[in-house]
């Protein structure tokens, strides 16, 4: 269950004087899914959609999961926009022949969704080739939150 995980995160974040992102609304979510289909020709698993309906992206203690847009206007803030961030990594992914969408990141790795195997993965940030697969988005979120809670 994603909601209880995020409830815990919310408590910790509030303690540090931080707030979680608001949920993506229906039209933001639909536009996002359409654009993902248009660019990557894939439909992301519903668990990730559920996540976006609770928080539209997450930045917590070095863990970042991208959402549909940037909510921060401050130019020092991390980007939570999935499309913008995939532009950032595009050249590296292409050079490594990787057919993946970058979903997020932590201090030492990128979190990716493999378009062919339909699998969420952790990849080391520099090499990109050392892969730890997850059985679902929820498992990925749980493992990654365990690292930073």
């Amino acid at each position: 269950m994603i909601k209880p995980l995020l409830d815990k995160v919310k408590v910790s974040a509030n303690r540090w004087g931080e707030n979680l992102e608001p949920p993506a609304n229906n039209s933001e979510l639909q536009d996002f899914l359409d654009r993902v289909w248009e660019i990557f020709a894939v439909r992301l698993p519903t668990q990730y959609e559920n996540f976006l309906q609770i928080v539209n992206g997450l930045e917590f203690n070095g863990l970042i999961i991208y959402g549909t847009k940037n909510s921060e206007t401050n130019h020092d803030a991390s980007s939570l926009d999935l499309f913008e961030m995939n532009e950032v990594f595009k050249d590296s992914l292409r050079a490594s022949n990787l057919d993946v969408i970058v979903i997020g990141e932590d201090s030492t790795g990128l979190l990716t969704y493999d378009i062919n195997t339909k699998q969420f993965q952790f990849r080391d940030r520099i090499g990109l080739d050392r892969v730890e697969p997850f059985s679902s988005f929820e498992e990925m979120l749980k493992v990654e939150l365990d690292k930073v809670m």
Binding site: W16, G17, E18, E59, N61, G62, I64, N74, H75, D76, A77, S78, S79, E84, E87, V88, F89, K90, D91, S92, A95, S96, E105, D106, S107, T108, G109, D124, R125, I126, G127, L128, D129, R130, K147, V148
Partner: protein
């Protein structure tokens, strides 16, 4: 003399009491300095892992070396030629160690080398002015106590023979020839090797971000020999980093008044600083391994930097990836690698 057990220096919290014991032992040995005792002191300093000591203990250790040990060193302590040679080498190693510790106490790498050392209050180095025709001479720093440092970048051609090296320096700096000659005779002369040509003066690095060229100011470009680590040991290092190292690194920054001052002037807010003091990663930043753990990089604090994500972290890791992704396992390749020199990057906010 009784036995003493050294605290390990792998980034874990050092046992304060045992560090104090080691310092007391150095104090004792400084009183009876001989060629063998100096050798022992150097071993001790290496074994306590000085770079992981808290700042105030580091300062104490440096003051002890500079004020109590250094003035007692006399290269003529022995008449045995072989012992004499090894004693002189030890003096030079000790001088270099003092410089290492001194530099580590001032992380502002945008400041000139000698100013960083002088900021400790224990040195008063000035830069020797070369004869105009010798502009390629290695930089020389001179302290009023007679200590002379010749700064040579790793990888640059260094003159191995000390006599030749000092002759070269004397010719390049005719106005300081006497000071340089005396420092050699008194054993107060050292060649100080810096890792990479740019540690003396940090340079700019041009990287790519979203397909466009981006200039990162004050990034060192270090020449390193890259060899990819095997998967098991990489996993171990990563696990340790997530379990404790990242948190302890941030706590060490957030609870050190000098580091807090630097982070504040870089634009971190009070909310961000409070989080760092508790070992949390502030929003907008992440903790980056300067030399990746994918290569020979370690979890030591001096290999870590709190770096702004947007866009410095991405620009640097994109460049690091481009430089290394083609290297097959088992092969070593020499590459020029962009490395933020301090514990924080950037040191100044957006212009």
């Amino acid at each position: 003399m009784g036995y003493i057990s050294y605290p390990r220096s792998v980034g874990e919290r050092l046992d304060h009491q045992r560090v104090q014991e080691v310092i007391r032992l150095i104090e004792g040995l400084a009183g009876i300095v001989t060629s063998t005792a100096l050798d022992g002191i150097l071993v001790l300093i290496n074994q306590i892992g000085w770079h992981n000591l808290p700042t105030h203990t580091k300062k104490k250790l440096l003051a002890l070396m500079r004020n109590q040990l250094y003035p007692k060193l006399d290269p003529h302590v022995t008449s045995d030629p072989q012992e004499h040679q090894s004693y002189r080498e030890n003096i030079q190693a000790l001088n270099s160690k003092m410089v290492d510790i001194g530099l580590s106490l001032n992380n502002d790498t945008s400041a000139p080398f000698h100013e960083r050392l002088n900021a400790t209050g224990l040195f008063d180095f000035r830069v020797a002015q070369p004869d105009k025709s010798k502009t390629e001479a290695a930089p020389v720093l001179i302290d009023s106590s007679g200590m002379v440092l010749i700064i040579v970048a790793t990888g640059q051609e260094a003159i191995e023979n000390q006599g030749l090296s000092i002759t070269h320096a004397i010719h390049s700096y005719p106005n300081d020839a006497d000071s340089i000659k005396d420092s050699y005779l008194e054993g107060k002369y050292s060649t100080y090797f810096v890792p990479g040509k740019s540690q003396v003066v940090a340079t700019n690095f041009i990287g790519k971000y979203k397909g466009k060229s981006v200039t990162l100011n004050d990034v060192e470009v270090r020449e390193i020999t890259y060899k990819r680590r095997n998967r098991e040991s990489l996993g171990e290092l990563r696990k340790k980093f997530d379990a404790s190292v990242r948190k302890n690194f941030l706590k060490s920054l957030g609870n050190d008044s000098e580091s807090v001052k630097i982070m504040k002037s870089a634009g971190l807010t009070d909310v961000q600083l409070a989080k760092i003091a508790q070992g949390g990663v502030p929003k907008g930043y992440n903790v980056h391994h300067k030399i990746p753990i994918d290569d020979g990089g370690t979890n030591d604090f001096d290999n870590l930097v709190l770096i702004r994500n947007n866009s410095e972290h991405y620009t640097i890791t994109n460049a690091q990836r481009d430089l290394t992704s083609h290297i097959p396992y088992g092969e070593t390749v020499k590459i020029e690698f962009p490395v933020p020199p301090s514990f924080l990057y950037p040191l100044k906010g957006h212009n």
